[in-house]
């Protein structure tokens, strides 16, 4: 992962698949990608907290974004990997793992290639998306990973009862309406 943005406008993104859809994160936030191996469960946390793993001696939490977005839990296959990202947790730089079905590619976007997120119609909460990058005929959801993994979202973990918390986004309609997008 020795790719660096070439100018001040961050222009490189790592994309990966979550439940069939392609998402991307600014590459400067991605520290590394590792194969999904046994993750230790952390009891009494919501379903979207997969647990913790050992990253060369550091204990790193692993989050299943699919489950967090209210989609199905990510199944573990040979392709499953964990994207280690650096995020700001309550003012502290923290490493966090994000489970992905597969890593896709490194994308170059000029600012004009990135469109505004649509006001509705996305499968996940609109405020988790900072923009839509166009790749050929497809769109890649560019995630606000700091927002998704923000303190407010994550700190709620310890007060959760352990019940799966599926999120219902205000704007996004149910799966049936997804066909339209």
């Amino acid at each position: 992962m020795d790719v660096r943005a070439t100018d001040a406008n961050q222009s490189q993104y790592l994309s990966f698949f979550i439940d069939g859809e392609e998402y991307a994160i600014g590459i400067l936030q991605v520290k590394e990608i590792i194969r999904y191996e046994t993750v230790t469960k952390v009891p009494t946390t919501p379903r979207w907290i997969r647990g913790v793993l050992n990253l060369r001696g550091l204990v790193v939490p692993v989050v299943d974004l699919a489950a967090k977005f209210g989609l199905r839990e990510t199944p573990v296959t040979g392709q499953t990997c964990v994207v280690i990202v650096e995020t700001d947790l309550d003012g502290e730089r923290t490493l966090m793992g994000v489970v992905a079905d597969a890593v896709s590619q490194v994308l170059d976007f000029r600012p004009e290639d990135i469109g505004e997120p649509p006001p509705f119609g996305t499968r996940i909460r609109v405020d988790y998306i900072v923009g839509m990058g166009k790749v050929g005929k497809k769109f890649v959801h560019i995630l606000d990973i700091d927002g998704v993994l923000s303190a407010a979202e994550l700190m709620a973990v310890t007060s959760a009862t352990g019940e799966p918390v599926a999120e219902v986004s205000g704007a996004a309609p149910g799966p049936a309406a997804q066909e339209a997008s």
């Binding site: 046994t38 230790t40 009891p43 647990g51 913790v52 050992n54 309550d90």
Partner: protein, 563 residues
């Protein structure tokens, strides 16, 4: 050149903090015994050093302020001024100004903080012997919190010039310890591998030898992190003085065992609890001077801070010679808050003072009454995997003993497993484990999260870890036989039922992410020999859970308890 100046500034900062800490102690001592020439000389020396250094480095505002401070001290030294309470308060305030101003100056500020102006004027008045007692605010609340934050760990004791002593960056020690932890993990892994291979007997032998050496090295590193408690204890001279003054009580602080050494991370965690326990003792324990005189006691109350080592822990005591805990009042307040105090043992009643929001104070003051302070004590001590005991003798005083481990980074752990082959491993701190026993099938259905077992005739509550943690299904075949690990915390026994006992091993504690802080039943994590992460159980929390369930489940209902 800039680099040199940076080093210079850093040294100036550190020396000033040490100087200020020593001056503070000397000032408080001087107030207690105004004829203490050595004390006044110590303050004077400190002020002079700060003035000189500040002038050399071009911090004119600081130097001028230190000069004004020195002027007043000179009058005290000449005995033209007496170190009265008001004057001492003013001088302490001036120290606070310096403490704030020096880091600001180092960062480039040319002026002093705004609060300094009033203090400087008061210093000028004091010099003329015209100190207006009423107009100088006592070194009060907002000032008091600052000393502890700014003072370096280990305080003035770190710099012993005559001895062969070296200043070491705390980060460097942290890194060494982390490294030692990493090696401990791979050591464990290596031993596991060698153990399995019969052909590797020679290698195992060599490994064992290397292991011994490593353990030695690890011990040395941990010892390098030990700092004496003395400076931490003595810093509370100021707390005692200020709080006593604020509530109109005379209190003296006695320090015993201040040479006892403890890991600096432990010291960090003990700082706040100490302050709260001392405040509590002054506000609730020590009686007003008139009341004490009526009771035939010395009008000046005494608080003793005491530390001693006891095997792998240190025991720290805060003892006051006040009125003792009013158990009846605690019973009343506790009952009003929904505790079943009628059935509580005295020890449990005393423990109530650590409950969240618990306060027997009739009114909330600046100092106490909100019931927060003692909860902080409990929380920090839990964090350190320590225990608290309270002793109280009516009319004679209260002693709070806090027992904490000497070091935080490495503990002896006992590994247990929930579920079969693919199950989860958990680590129980070995010092809480009393014994292990097989769970007889008659002790309750597997489906229950909890039950009661017979430990040598005593009925002891236990809980099933798998059930409490919501594991159970999907973690492999349930074992035919369960085991119970009997744990003890603050005189209470409880059992933790698990599927398998894996044995003991040295456990390097890894912090868990901030997001898991406050997770019930989990104190931290560690990395096992196979590279996986295992969670370390928070025994006190689980125990509260177990005993809480028992009294909720098996005790008579509130209806029966009513007359």
């Amino acid at each position: 050149m800039d680099l040199d100046r940076d080093v210079l500034l850093q040294t100036f900062l550190e020396e000033t903090q040490e100087n200020l800490a020593q001056m503070e102690q000397a000032l408080v001592a001087l107030e207690a015994s105004p004829s203490d020439d050595e004390a006044i000389r110590a303050v004077f020396r400190g002020a002079h050093t700060i003035k000189g250094n500040a002038a050399t480095l071009g911090f004119r505002a600081v130097a001028e302020f230190a000069h004004a401070f020195e002027d007043v001290l000179a009058r005290v030294r000449e005995r033209a001024l007496a170190p009265s309470t008001a004057l001492t308060s003013l001088l302490l305030r001036a120290l606070d100004v310096l403490r704030e101003a020096v880091p600001l100056a180092v960062e480039g500020a040319e002026a002093l903080p705004p609060a300094s102006e009033a203090v400087r004027e008061a210093l000028a008045r004091a010099r003329e012997g015209a100190l207006d007692e009423g107009r100088v605010a006592p070194a009060g609340e907002e000032a008091r919190s600052s000393p502890d934050e700014h003072a370096p760990l280990g305080g003035g004791e770190g710099r012993v010039l005559e001895g062969r002593t070296l200043r070491v960056d705390v980060d460097r020690l942290d890194r060494m310890l982390r490294l030692a932890g990493e090696i401990a993990i791979s050591r464990g892994r290596l031993r596991e591998l060698l153990d399995r291979d019969a052909a590797a007997r020679d290698a195992l032998e060599t490994h064992r030898e290397a292991d011994r050496l490593f353990l030695d090295l690890q011990e040395q590193i941990m010892e390098a992190r030990l700092v004496p408690l003395g400076p931490v204890f003595r810093r509370h001279q100021r707390t005692v003085r200020d709080v006593g003054l604020a509530v109109g009580k005379q209190v003296a602080l006695v320090v015993e065992g201040d040479e006892v050494e403890v890991d600096m991370a432990v010291v960090e965690h003990l700082r706040d609890p100490l302050t709260h326990m001392i405040r509590n003792a002054i506000d609730h324990g020590i009686e007003a001077p008139e009341a004490r005189a009526r009771l035939g006691k010395d009008p000046c109350g005494r608080i003793t801070l005491r530390a001693r080592r006891d095997s792998g822990s240190i025991v720290m005591e805060v003892e006051d010679d006040g009125a003792g805990l009013d158990l009846e009042r605690i019973r009343e307040v506790g009952a009003a808050r929904g505790f079943d105090t009628a059935r509580m043992r005295d020890a449990d009643l005393r423990a109530l003072i650590f409950a969240s929001g618990f306060s027997t104070a009739a009114t909330v003051t600046d100092l106490s009454g909100r019931g927060v302070g003692m909860e902080v004590v409990r929380r920090n001590v839990d964090l350190l995997r320590g225990t608290i005991a309270v002793e109280s003798r009516p009319g004679q005083g209260t002693t709070i003993s806090v027992r904490v481990p000497l070091t935080l980074a490495i503990i002896d752990g006992f590994q247990v497993q929930i579920g079969g082959g693919g199950g989860q491993t958990y680590v129980i701190p070995l010092d809480t484990v009393v014994e292990c026993m097989e769970l007889q099938p008659s002790s309750g259905e597997r489906a229950d999260d909890h039950g009661v077992i017979d430990v040598r005739g005593e009925a002891v509550p236990f809980l099933r870890l798998g059930g409490v943690f919501g594991l159970g299904a999907g973690d492999g075949e349930p074992r035919a036989r369960e085991n119970v690990v009997v744990v003890k915390h603050e005189d209470r026994l409880a059992g933790i039922a698990v599927d398998a006992l894996l044995g003991q091993s040295q456990t390097v504690i890894k912090p868990l992410s901030k997001m898991f802080r406050g997770l019930p039943g989990v104190a931290g994590s560690t990395i096992l020999g196979n590279g996986r992460v295992a969670l370390i159980l928070d025994v006190p929390a689980l125990l509260r859970e177990a005993t809480g369930r028992r009294s909720a489940g098996a005790g008579p209902g509130p209806g029966e308890a009513a007359p």
